[in-house]
Every structure is written in structure tokens, then in C-alpha cells.
């Protein structure tokens, strides 16, 4: 082999060996590249985009929920912020009510729910409700209060409408205090 071919061979050998080394490094470079590539393109967000799906929802029918509100012997204004909503059984829904204390002093009351028709009650599952607690309102205070609920998919098919009715009662202890207060006040 002539000297010139020999040195040509050697140059090529060096280049190819360097290329191999470079590719060894490229194997390592794939580690950060992989992360960067996924972050830029969002390609690895396979599981993040889809929120958990509630497979319990009966999308085959809608139930009308009507809201009603009353106060019993209490100087409060109490009304639902929507008159009715339609929900699929199994679906989580929320409704809001507004209550205003018209008196010039704090008062405490509690709401009691009732259902129409009556047998719908056991299928109406409240997750949170302002009726779970006593509500104390300062003088003239107004408040928005939620109820979050699910209608059980087992609800009999012939019930298409449920009326949810709340009545606010004044909590006993306070009433007595007020009763005492009235004679002195007037």
C-alpha cells in the first residue's frame, strides 16, 4: 500500500472513529433531548389532558330540579338564584340561594329541606349544603349559599321533576333571647 493511500486511510479512520464517539455522546444527549422535546410539543401529556370521567352518569335522561324557598317566622329574605336546572342522574350539580337579614341585629337560622314528590328524597344526595349548618347573619348582611348534589341514577324513571324546597327557621335559643329583648327594646 502506497504512503499516500496509507495516510488517506488514517484520516478516514480518525474521522469515522470520531463520528462513533460523537454518536456515543448522542446516546447520552437523548436523555435531555427527550425531556425537552416532550415539554415543547406536549407529546408526553398523554394522561394529563383527560380529566377523570364519571362513568356513573346516566346521560340517557334529564331530570328537572325546581327550587323553592320559604321562611318561617323569621324576618329574612330568602330566594333561589335559579328557578330550576336540568341534570343527568349521576351528574354533580350545584345551585345557589341568597339570604338577606333585614333586621338591624345579628340573627341565626337553619334551613330544613323537603322534597316533592316525597319519594324522590332518598335519591337526592346532597354533597354540601348550607342547610348542614346554622347560619348566623349580621345586621343587614346578605349571603350567597351553595348546595352541591347528585341525583342517584337509581331514581325511578317516572319521576321527571323534583322540587327541592327549603324553609328557614330561627334557631330556638336565639328566639328566646330575642323574645326577652323585645320588651326592653320597645
Amino acid at each position: 500500500m502506497s504512503a499516500s493511500v496509507s495516510s488517506k486511510n488514517r484520516t478516514l479512520l480518525t474521522r469515522l472513529a470520531l463520528f462513533s464517539l460523537l454518536m456515543f455522546g448522542f446516546g447520552y444527549a437523548l436523555v435531555p433531548l427527550y425531556k425537552v422535546f416532550c415539554n415543547i410539543t406536549g407529546l408526553n401529556a398523554v394522561n394529563l389532558t383527560a380529566a377523570p370521567v364519571n362513568s356513573q352518569v346516566d346521560t340517557g335522561r334529564l331530570v328537572d330540579i325546581e327550587f323553592d324557598s320559604n321562611v318561617h317566622d323569621l324576618p329574612w329574605k330568602f330566594r333561589p338564584l335559579q328557578s330550576h336546572i336540568s341534570v343527568h342522574p349521576g351528574e354533580v350539580a350545584q345551585a345557589e340561594f341568597e339570604v338577606v337579614n333585614t333586621r338591624g341585629e345579628p340573627m341565626t337560622g337553619q334551613a330544613i329541606p323537603s322534597y316533592g314528590p316525597r319519594e324522590a328524597g332518598e335519591y337526592f344526595k346532597k354533597i354540601t349544603c348550607f342547610c348542614f349548618n346554622k347560619q348566623t347573619l349580621a345586621a343587614g348582611e346578605s349571603r350567597h349559599m351553595p348546595v352541591v348534589f347528585v341525583v342517584d341514577p337509581a331514581l325511578p324513571r317516572d319521576i321527571g321533576t323534583i322540587t327541592l324546597s327549603y324553609t328557614f327557621f330561627e334557631v330556638e335559643g336565639n328566639k328566646r333571647a330575642e323574645a326577652k329583648a323585645i320588651p326592653t327594646g320597645s
Binding site: M23, G27, Y34
Partner: protein, 527 residues
């Protein structure tokens, strides 16, 4: 035409140089090294084959018979590693050593000593693999794909496998650098690139693939090693690593690797088909471009091995279409082979039989590949015996058949004798029949849902497994006939002419048979 350029077929073996074992240890002669590669490859073929028969014996009937599940997985892993890296790749490097210098009119490979090293590295590498069976905890039982997290948890057999892969990688990178340099720098005057035989062309492209992806594989196993022992967390989820990342890095190497295994075979088949059709290869230039585009595309399809690993739909679609795209240049090749035979004067000697068997069966392997490329289908078939059937149709009926074709085609040149044609044909038909018996039924097993890499299976798979196991033993035993044919051809037989195949083309047929120890010391002038 029958007379040779180097009239005196005198064995040209100058008395100089060491003899005996020392000769083989220190030789820098491409023919010596080629022969060592081929014998090494055959030895590994037998070792890997015995492992395959162990697997098939265990699967002969349901239940656990011979191997406990850990051993079974170790054998499956070693079978895969040994066949791919120990048998098939070295076989093609052996052919390259023997034939490429002769085909392009060079006196030897560009770097003789490097060549010697490339070969001798294989010995410790294979010993590491085989002896890892006997270390505490046994060999790596993770499958040839070495997926973490299991490969991070395995015992020291895994470390031995990793070192073995390192050495095998260095060996094949050095071999490839040698082949590229030889082809690019040492061609005879007048031997332009587009006059080179297809075997040299496909090897040139393969060698570039090897130096591009073997280092990446070496990197991947090095990361495994440091995750195992040096507290890094590339793949170990416990330290914030990502096991799926390994799959990406592995298959970035792994898919080009399957083309490394098959491309030199494409070259051999192109030459054999043309020789026995007595026609020049149809569409030579398109063959070169098809090979090159297969090589380029092979870098963009690795995701088809990972459809079930978690991948967004965009990725699945990309890899599905890219994979199907590869079928186009592959189809061009099959078309060209068939067109080469069209109106040719065909004869069916053993090399031609293996070439035809190759075209027939490899095309089937390509089709089952296309089936697997469809994401929606692959989700069902991934890791079943359907995949096993697919890759044995491509690697055994593809790569191995082309290696058999090459041996029969060039054996007269190497030994100076004709092999026993009748026995050669028997070897082909036995191999053909038993190969299909072994692997065709595995398509059905896969479709019926039998997972791969398990030592036991549900009863409904029993019949097909029994057929497959019987076929496997037939296939294995038939290869002893091959050994017999080769050995008796070396020992004697009818004298081979310099050009024993009248349709063959290429410079290798211009030197006498057997090829003298030194050929083309004065480079020929190619018109």
C-alpha cells in the same frame, strides 16, 4: 472466460510468518480473518441453536418440564443476544472480509491489525455471555431488549451481559470502520462506486448504520450499568428516571439494527439471483438508492416497537405511517429481484434455492411486519408469538438464508472444490420445510393470544406448540448436514473452476479457485 487472470493456481502461501495457533492469533490476512469470523459465527449458531432447542423442548407441552421460569428467561435472552450479535452479524463480517477486497480489486482490508483485533474481541465477549449462565443468580433474564426496571434489578449476570455488549459493540464498530475505509479508498482503478457489486454496496451502507447506532446502544447499556452500581437515575424511577426512556434509546438503535442484520443479505441475494438467472441485476441504481433510503428511514420508525408503552395518538400515527413507508423501498427490491429472473435462463443450484426461499419467506416477514405496523392491530399482537413469527421470518428466512446462499455460492472459491450439490439441495429443502413448520404456526399462536417469553401456556395452545417444537428439532438437526457438506467440501471434491457459475459476475471470479493467500497485489484495471 474460464481462464483466470492469475494463470498459475499455484498455492501462493509464502513460507514466512508464524504457523499453528500463532498464525491465527496474529494473522492480518483478510481471508484468514474471514474464515475465523465464519467459524466463530457457526459455533455461535450451534450454541444459540442448542438454546433454541431447550426453549422448544420446554414448550413442547404445557406445564414446566426442563427449565424453571428464571432459567427459561435466561435462555431466551441469551438465545437472542447470541444469534443476533454472535451468529448473524459476525457471519456477514466474515463474508465481507473474504469477499469485499476480492470484489473491488484490493489486496487486503485497509487495516490488518485492527481487523485481527475486531475478530479476537468476539471471543471474550461470547465467553462473558455464555459463562454468565453459571454465576450466582444466573444470566440476564430480561430478554435481548434489556428493558429496565428488571435489568436494573438483575444479579451480576446482567453486568456480564452489559460488558459483553460493550465488547461486541467495539468489535463491530472497528470492523465497520475497516470496511468503509477499504471500500472508499482501496477500490481498483476504474472500479467506480456505481460499478461495485451489490454486496459491497449494501455492506458500505450497513457499516455506516453500525457506526451510527452501535455507540448509542453502548451508551444505553452504560447508563444501565451506572444506574445499577453508581447511583445515577437515567432509567430508575426511584431516583426520578424514566424506564420508557430506555425503550426509546434502545429502539433508536434497535430498528436500524434489524437492517444491519438484513442489508448485507440483500446484497448477497442480488448477486446470486443475477448469477443464476444469467442476467445482470435489474435496476442496479434503484437497488442502491432503495438500500440507502431504507437505511435513512430506519432512523425514524423505532416507535413501532413501543405502541403499547404509552404514546400520544400523534406519535402513533407518525410511527405507523413512517413504518409503512419503508415497505416501499423494500418492495422495490423484491420487484427488482423478480424482474431480474424474468426471462432469465434460470438454474436451481443450492445458492439459487436459498435465494428463492429468501425472497418468498422474507416477503412474508415483511407483510407480517406491515400488519404489526398498524397501531390498532399491534396493540393486540404486541408481545405475542405473532411478533416472534414475524422476526424469525425476517431474521432466519432472511438473514440466515442469505448467509447459506453466500456460503454455497462462494464455497468453491474458498476451497477450490465443488460441494456436494445433491446434499446441498437436501439441506435447502429440509431447512425450508422445517423452518415453516417451526415458525408458520407461531402466527396462529400469536393471533390466538399466546404471549412470548413464557415457559408455560394455556392448554388451547398445545397443538401448535407441539408442531413448532417438532419443526425446531428438525431444523436444528438439518444444520448438521450443512456442517458435513462444508467440511467435506474443504477436504475434497470435484475441482472447482475459477468461475464455477457461468452466470456469475465480479472480480472474485477472475482469481483462481481456491483463492490464493494473496490476491490482487497488483490491482486490476476495471474497464
Amino acid at each position: 472466460m474460464e481462464t483466470t487472470a492469475m494463470g498459475h493456481a499455484e498455492v501462493h502461501d509464502h513460507g514466512h510468518g508464524p504457523t499453528g495457533l500463532k498464525r491465527w492469533l496474529t494473522t492480518t490476512n483478510h481471508k484468514d480473518i474471514g474464515s475465523m469470523y465464519l467459524w466463530f459465527s457457526f459455533a455461535m449458531f450451534i450454541v444459540g441453536g442448542i438454546m433454541a432447542l431447550l426453549i422448544r423442548a420446554e414448550l413442547f407441552e404445557p406445564g414446566l418440564q426442563f427449565l424453571d421460569p428464571e432459567r427459561y428467561n435466561q435462555i431466551v435472552t441469551l438465545h437472542g443476544l447470541i444469534m443476533v450479535f454472535g451468529a448473524i452479524m459476525p457471519a456477514f463480517v466474515g463474508f465481507a472480509n473474504w469477499m469485499i477486497p476480492m470484489q473491488i480489486g484490493a489486496s487486503d482490508m485497509a487495516f490488518g491489525r485492527l481487523n485481527n483485533w475486531s475478530f479476537w474481541l468476539l471471543i471474550p465477549a461470547s465467553l462473558l455471555l455464555v459463562t454468565s449462565l453459571f454465576v450466582p443468580g444466573g444470566a440476564a433474564g430480561v430478554g435481548w431488549t434489556l428493558y429496565p426496571p428488571l435489568s436494573i434489578q438483575m444479579g451480576m449476570g446482567m453486568d456480564l451481559a452489559i460488558f459483553s455488549v460493550h465488547i461486541l459493540g467495539i468489535s463491530s464498530i472497528l470492523g465497520s470502520i475497516n470496511i468503509i475505509t477499504t471500500i472508499l479508498n482501496l477500490r481498483a482503478p476504474g472500479m467506480t462506486m456505481m460499478k461495485m457489486p451489490m454486496f459491497a454496496w449494501t455492506w458500505l451502507i450497513t457499516a455506516f448504520l453500525i457506526i451510527a447506532v452501535m455507540p448509542v446502544f453502548a451508551g444505553a447499556v452504560t447508563m444501565l450499568l451506572t444506574d445499577r452500581h453508581f447511583g445515577t437515575s437515567f432509567f430508575s424511577a426511584a431516583g426520578g428516571g424514566d424506564p420508557v426512556l430506555f425503550q426509546h434509546v434502545f429502539w433508536f438503535f434497535g430498528h436500524p439494527e434489524v437492517y444491519i442484520v438484513i442489508l448485507p443479505g440483500f446484497g448477497i441475494i442480488s448477486q446470486v439471483i443475477s448469477a443464476f438467472s444469467r442476467k445482470p441485476l435489474f435496476g442496479y441504481a434503484s437497488m442502491v438508492y432503495a438500500t440507502a433510503s431504507i437505511a435513512v428511514l430506519s432512523f425514524f420508525v423505532w416507535g413501532h416497537h413501543m405502541f403499547t408503552s404509552g404514546m400520544p395518538v400523534t406519535g402513533q400515527l407518525f410511527y405507523m405511517y413512517a413504518t409503512m413507508l419503508i415497505a416501499i423501498p423494500t418492495g422495490v427490491k423484491v420487484f427488482n429481484w423478480i424482474a431480474t429472473m424474468w426471462r432469465g435462463t434460470l438454474t436451481f443450484e443450492t445458492p439459487m434455492l436459498f435465494a428463492l426461499g429468501f425472497i418468498f419467506l422474507f416477503t412474508m416477514g415483511g407483510f407480517s411486519g406491515l400488519v404489526l405496523a398498524m397501531t390498532a392491530v399491534d396493540v393486540q399482537m404486541h408481545n405475542t408469538y405473532y411478533v416472534v413469527a414475524h422476526f424469525h421470518y425476517t431474521m432466519v428466512a432472511g438473514a440466515l438464508f442469505s448467509a447459506f446462499a453466500a456460503v454455497y455460492y462462494w464455497l468453491p472459491k474458498w476451497t477450490g472444490h465443488m460441494y456436494n450439490e445433491k446434499l446441498g439441495k437436501v439441506h435447502f429443502w429440509l431447512t425450508m420445510a422445517f423452518f415453516n413448520m417451526t415458525f408458520f404456526v407461531q402466527h396462529f399462536l400469536g393471533l390466538a393470544g399466546m404471549p412470548r417469553r413464557i415457559p408455560d401456556y394455556a392448554l388451547q395452545f398445545a397443538d401448535f406448540n407441539r408442531i413448532s417444537s417438532i419443526g425446531a428439532f428438525g431444523l436444528g438437526i438439518s444444520q448438521l448436514l450443512f456442517l458435513y457438506i462444508v467440511v467435506s467440501c474443504i477436504k475434497g471434491g470435484p475441482k472447482a473452476a475459477a468461475k464455477p457459475w457461468d452466470g456469475a459476475e465480479g472480480l472474485e471470479w477472475d482469481v483462481p479457485s481456491p483463492a490464493p493467500y494473496h490476491t490482487w497485489e497488483i490491482q486490476p484495471q476495471v474497464k
